[in-house]
Structures are given as structure tokens and as C-alpha cells.
């Protein structure tokens, strides 16, 4: 009987079984950032402990950095203080930091793959729920809390229960104007925001196999929004081509030997899966959320549903969402006026995302009254985009071209919604207050759809602009 990637990676990293019944799992790569690490370092200091394998931890700064100007010291004193702490902690504990003048800074889940730090067969942890992103390369990657950041720093291990495995197969070809974001939003819409609790998701099927690495990153990124703590795609030729030549990837002969091992870690045919779900990729249309969790979405051509038709357990949540969003059941989602457009975040701020948005924005103008910003996922993405002139396309259309960071995804820097503003956003969360204004509203969609909305001033089907 064959084994899954989950089985193999889990076994290779098992240190021992703990009395609690959990596994002590070795963590091959630990990524940290300024928000969830300072308390962990403090706990370490208080316990008189060292970082066990400092060479397996890498740091960047992303959540609180300003994206208009990144001159230090930052105008925001709290942001400056957090940055100073991160720099100091990294120095004290001998951890490599990709800071603002490294040319390699960016959102932690963008730079891990981009630098070749993220590799197949690894276990990866980061104090951030979207760590699931790294699974796109065939790694097992888990978001953790601050106490666990402390555990990994001190022991390079986590105490974890092995999840069950659900394979999600997306078959067929995606239509033009339909992107990885639409696929993952459809999956979450179908399985629900808690459908994945206790599971890791293995994404497979012909549509996933045909995807580029960046598209797979988008899919795996939002596993956590479906309740699954980890999500992965089995490593294949796309993975190996992506990694070849990256800074931290094996080089020369070692690369070929690595490929052999990576291949050997993939799920074998006939392996036992706890569950399989299949979706028809060809029937997916561009998706837009209408509510306050990422599972509350419809196709752009559809109407906002009526809570009366919701499953019993969701009825109250749907009503609450409609009240908060000030939407009526039966109202078409297309035509919803927007105030802000945000292209960014670890879900959709890689080069291919910016290209897709630029293709829509080229030669057009952002609608009057709409504030539109593009925030590249990393300094490297920004440089690559500038090299092909994407920033000019955006700027000529009326978008602000910003520096790398999390920005309006969670509003921890000065980029925030104001009051009741509605934002068309390529990020991953539409929770109440997520974008910095307690009453602000978020519509999640693909970067191309955000670009289309920013030009129309309202939600539109991007396929109309691609004709």
C-alpha cells in the first residue's frame, strides 16, 4: 500500500511520541516576523534558553512596515519599536534577517519560496496562519502561535497531532478570466470555513497539475481559511523548475540528488486518503465574497443568497453578514460600488498576479473616487515588476505603486479603510474590521477582478474587460 506525502514527511521528522499522544516533530525551517516573535524571544530569555539551530530560522519584517516610504526611523513609533526589537533579537540569537535594505525583504510567505528556502519534503513553521502557503512546493507547513514559536526556537520541534488527509481534486481546464484565487474561494465556499478542521488538504487533479507554482501558492495560502492548518501540492516538474537556481536551493549535482529525494516524497498511487472531494474546474467562474468570512461568496454573475435558504447552522451568520455589509438578499453582487482597491498580500502579490492585474489596467483609468493601491509581495517582486514596466502601467492608470509589505491586508501600518468604505481586495480575509476600520467592508476576489473593479468603480466580471 502506498504512502502519502503527509505520511512520509511526518515519519521522516518524527523525533518521538510524547506521553500526550502527540508527535514530537522536527521542524526543518522556521520563519519569523516582527509581530509574533518578540514575546517568544522574551519567554526564551526568561527561561534562560538559547535558539537550538539558529541557522534554520530566518526572519523578515512585513506586517507593520509602512509601504509609502520605508525610511527609518518609521514615523509610526510603535512600528519602529517592533522593528528595533526584531533586529536586536536576531543579532542576539544569531538569526539571519532579511531587512529593508537587503533587497530580499517581503511578506514572509512570499520570500520563503522566492529565495528557495521552502523546499519539498520539509516541515516548516511560522507564527502566522498563512504558513500553509509553503505547502505549494510539497512541504508540510504549519501556522503556529507564539508559545509554539518559543518551542521551535528552543527545541527546533513542535508537539503536534498528525492531521487526517483530504485530497481535493480540481479537474479540467479553468476558463479565461478564472484564476487560482477563484478556485480556492470555490473550494472554501463548498466545504465551508470549518470543513478542514483536523485535516491537511492535498490539492490534486489536472487543473492543479497544470498550475504554475505561483498559482499553487495562492491555493495553499488559503487552506487555513477553509479550516485546514496545512495544504500541499505534490512536488513535480513545475516545482523543480521553480526551485532551480534560487539562492537557497541546492546547486549543481546536489540539485539533481535533491530532485530524486523530493520525487520520492510525493504521494504514491493507491495511498490511503481519509477523504476525497472533486471539483469541476471548468465550471468555476470569477468569485466575489459578499460576507464576513471567506466562505460567504458567489460567482460574479450570481445574486447574494437569502439566509432563509442557508443551512440551519449558517442562518444566523448569513444574516449577521448581510447586516454588517448592508447588502440585501437577492441583490446581484456585480454592480456593488467600491471605494478602495487593494492588490497585494501573501495570497496574490507575486509577479504573475501583478501581470494579470496590469493586463486589465493597461490603457485604462481608475474610476473617480476610488483609491487604488498595488503593494508587491516582496522587494524582489517589486524589482521584477518594475523591470518589465508594470509599475508604469499601474501608475498611468491611477494606482499607487507601493513598497513591499502586508499593508491593507490587515491594516497594521497606515494603510487602512476609513469608516464604512468597501474595498475590492486580493487578500484572504474579509473579517469584520480586518482592513483597519472596525466598520470597513471587504470583498475578496482575484487581482484581475480587483483591477477590473477599480476601473469600473464597482464589481464587474473581469471577463468583459479581457475580451
Amino acid at each position: 500500500m502506498g504512502e502519502t506525502l503527509l505520511d512520509k514527511v511526518w515519519r521522516a521528522h518524527t523525533v518521538k511520541m510524547l506521553p500526550s499522544g502527540q508527535t514530537q516533530l522536527f521542524i526543518g525551517l522556521h520563519l519569523i516576523h516582527e509581530v509574533t516573535s518578540p514575546q517568544a524571544f522574551q519567554m526564551l530569555r526568561e527561561a534562560g534558553l538559547k535558539v537550538r539551530l539558529p541557522e534554520r530560522t530566518f526572519a523578515t519584517i512585513d506586517h507593520i512596515v509602512p509601504t509609502a516610504s520605508q525610511m527609518r526611523p518609521f514615523g509610526d513609533l510603535l512600528a519602529e519599536e517592533m522593528t528595533v526589537h526584531l533586529v536586536r533579537n536576531c543579532q542576539e540569537f544569531d538569526i539571519r534577517l532579511f531587512d529593508l535594505n537587503s533587497g530580499r525583504q517581503g511578506i514572509v510567505h512570499v520570500i520563503g519560496p522566492e529565495l528557495g528556502l521552502t523546499q519539498p519534503g520539509m516541515t516548516i513553521a511560522c507564527g502566522d496562519s498563512h504558513t500553509s502557503t509553503h505547502g505549494a512546493l510539497g512541504a508540510l507547513a504549519f501556522g503556529i502561535g507564539t508559545s509554539q514559536v518559543r518551542d521551535v526556537l528552543a527545541t527546533q520541534c513542535l508537539a503536534m497531532a498528525k492531521p487526517k488527509l483530504r485530497q481535493i481534486r480540481v479537474e479540467g481546464c479553468l476558463a479565461r478570466g478564472v484564476y487560482a484565487k477563484d478556485v480556492i474561494l470555490s473550494i472554501i465556499q463548498r466545504l465551508g470555513v470549518k470543513g478542514g478542521v483536523g485535516y491537511a488538504y492535498e490539492y490534486a487533479g489536472s487543473a492543479v497539475e497544470a498550475m504554475s507554482m505561483e498559482e499553487r501558492l495562492t491555493i495553499c495560502n488559503m487552506s487555513i481559511e477553509g479550516g485546514a492548518r496545512a495544504g500541499y501540492v505534490n512536488p513535480d516538474a513545475t516545482t523543480f523548475d521553480y526551485l532551480k537556481g534560487r539562492s537557497f536551493a541546492p546547486q549543481g549535482g546536489a540539485f539533481d540528488r535533491a530532485v530524486a529525494w523530493w520525487r520520492s516524497m510525493a504521494t504514491e498511487p493507491g495511498a490511503t486518503l481519509d477523504d476525497v472531494v472533486t471539483l469541476d474546474g471548468g465550471s468555476i467562474q470569477p468569485v466575489v465574497t459578499w460576507g464576513i468570512n471567506p466562505g460567504q461568496s458567489v460567482g460574479v454573475g450570481d445574486r447574494i443568497p437569502n439566509p432563509a435558504e442557508a443551512p440551519e447552522t449558517d442562518r444566523a451568520a448569513w444574516t449577521e453578514a448581510l447586516t454588517f455589509m448592508d447588502f440585501k438578499p437577492g441583490q446581484p453582487i456585480a454592480g456593488t460600488r467600491i471605494d478602495v482597491a487593494f492588490i497585494g498580500s501573501c495570497t496574490n502579490a507575486r509577479l504573475s498576479d501583478l501581470r494579470a492585474a496590469a493586463q486589465v489596467a493597461r490603457g485604462r483609468k481608475v474610476a473617480k473616487g476610488v483609491r487604488a493601491l498595488v503593494v508587491p509581495g516582496s522587494q524582489a517582486v517589486a524589482a521584477a515588476a518594475e523591470a518589465e514596466g508594470l509599475h508604469v502601467i499601474f501608475q498611468e492608470a491611477g494606482f499607487e505603486w507601493r513598497k513591499a509589505g502586508c499593508s491593507l491586508c490587515l491594516g497594521m501600518n497606515e494603510d487602512k479603510l476609513k469608516g464604512r468604505e468597501i474595498c475590492a481586495s486580493s487578500s484572504n480575509r474579509n473579517f469584520k474590521g480586518r482592513q483597519g476600520s472596525p466598520m470597513g467592508r471587504t470583498l475578496l476576489m482575484s487581482p484581475a477582478m480587483v483591477a477590473a473593479a477599480s476601473i469600473a468603480g464597482e464589481v464587474v466580471d473581469v471577463r468583459e474587460l479581457l475580451r
Binding site: A79, T146, T155, V193, G411, K432, P438
Partner: protein
């Protein structure tokens, strides 16, 4: 492990928080994460919800001093921020009982010694209703027996084995437990091709 880290039973007054899918952004909005410590987080628990709804349970006098939070389904979904259970703990919450919990939130709470017990949906409703009528009554979260007692009624509850053992043996702070593996940790590292060198 010291005796005061053992969590056999949590006893205290309840505070009901109706609703499903309450995410950690609502428990503690991101703007309050701008700090290098957890200090003062208790002042901002559910702050936006509380401003919008003056009758939010965390605003009500009758629930002040409560230590057992009653919640619906998928509580604590979203961001992995440990600031969420930290804020609740600093506000005074010692145990949570509800329909279900998001995984990272559950782990973070356990790591802080806060048991999260799961009960059936009709029992959640009953608990919420009863606490709202009798906020003065004590709830007993029995980690050992996996039960919740309120007044003369006892309802079955569930807590995954691993978390239960950690709480009962006072080993929920995992660092010490993990360190016991000693050189076993390096042995695993040595066998991994990507660390050993391909």
C-alpha cells in the same frame, strides 16, 4: 511540573458569547498587536464589537469577574495570533466551553493552560441560556471527567486526549517536554537529506 500548572477542574462564573465563526481579529483587532509584549491586551478584548453593541456580554456588569467563556461553533478561526487567548486570559477567562474550536486557537489556548471543551449544540444553547438567566451560578469544567456542570445538571463534554493529558499532568507548556528528547533531536536532523547535504 509544578502542582499549580495542573488543570483538573476549572470553576467559575460564566459569560456567554453567542455566534459562530468568531475570528481572532474580532477577539483582538490587529491594531492592538503593535507591541512587543502582551501587556494590557485585556483592555481591548472584543473592543470593536463592544463599541458597536453596548449590550455586548463583555460590557455587562453582571458578567464581570466571570472566568468561563461559553461560545458557539468554530470559535477563534482566522489569524494564529496568540494575542487572542492571551487577551482573554488577561481579562480573566480560565476555561472555554463551546460547539467547536478552530485548530490553532485551540492549540494556543492549551499552551496557555486554558482548556477548551466541546459540547453538543443543544448543550451550548442550554449553557448560554442558563448563564444569561443566572450569571451568578458557578460552572464546573471538569477536564478529568470530560464533563461540564452547571446547577444540578451535568453534560458530557469532549477534549482531545493529547490536550487533556497535557492539562492534567501540567505539561501544557511544551518546551520542557520537547527538550527531554535531548540529542534525539539532532539525530533526526542528521538523517534529513536537506540538512545532511544532498
Amino acid at each position: 511540573m509544578s502542582g499549580d500548572s495542573v488543570r483538573r477542574q476549572i470553576v467559575g462564573r460564566g459569560i456567554p458569547l453567542p455566534g459562530n465563526d468568531i475570528d481572532t481579529d474580532r477577539i483582538i483587532p490587529a491594531r492592538f498587536l503593535k507591541s512587543v509584549t502582551f501587556e494590557g491586551l485585556e483592555q481591548h478584548v472584543f473592543v470593536d464589537d463592544r463599541l458597536q453593541a453596548p449590550d455586548h456580554p463583555f460590557n455587562e456588569d453582571r458578567y464581570q469577574g466571570a472566568s468561563i467563556l461559553v461560545v458557539g461553533l468554530n470559535f477563534g478561526c482566522g489569524s494564529s495570533r496568540e494575542h487572542a487567548p492571551e487577551a482573554l486570559k488577561r481579562w480573566g477567562i480560565r476555561g472555554i466551553v463551546g460547539g467547536s474550536f478552530a485548530e490553532i486557537f485551540f492549540g494556543n489556548s492549551t499552551a496557555l493552560g486554558i482548556p477548551c471543551l466541546t459540547v453538543a449544540p443543544q448543550d451550548v444553547e442550554w449553557l448560554m441560556g442558563t448563564v444569561a438567566h443566572h450569571p451568578e451560578r458557578e460552572i464546573v469544567l471538569d477536564v478529568e471527567a470530560q464533563r461540564v456542570r452547571l446547577g444540578d445538571r451535568t453534560i458530557p463534554a469532549r477534549l482531545p486526549d493529547a490536550a487533556r493529558k497535557q492539562l492534567l499532568t501540567g505539561t501544557w507548556n511544551a518546551t520542557a517536554v520537547l527538550l527531554e528528547a535531548g540529542e534525539g533531536i539532532e539525530r533526526v536532523a542528521k538523517d534529513l537529506p536537506y540538512l545532511r547535504g544532498y
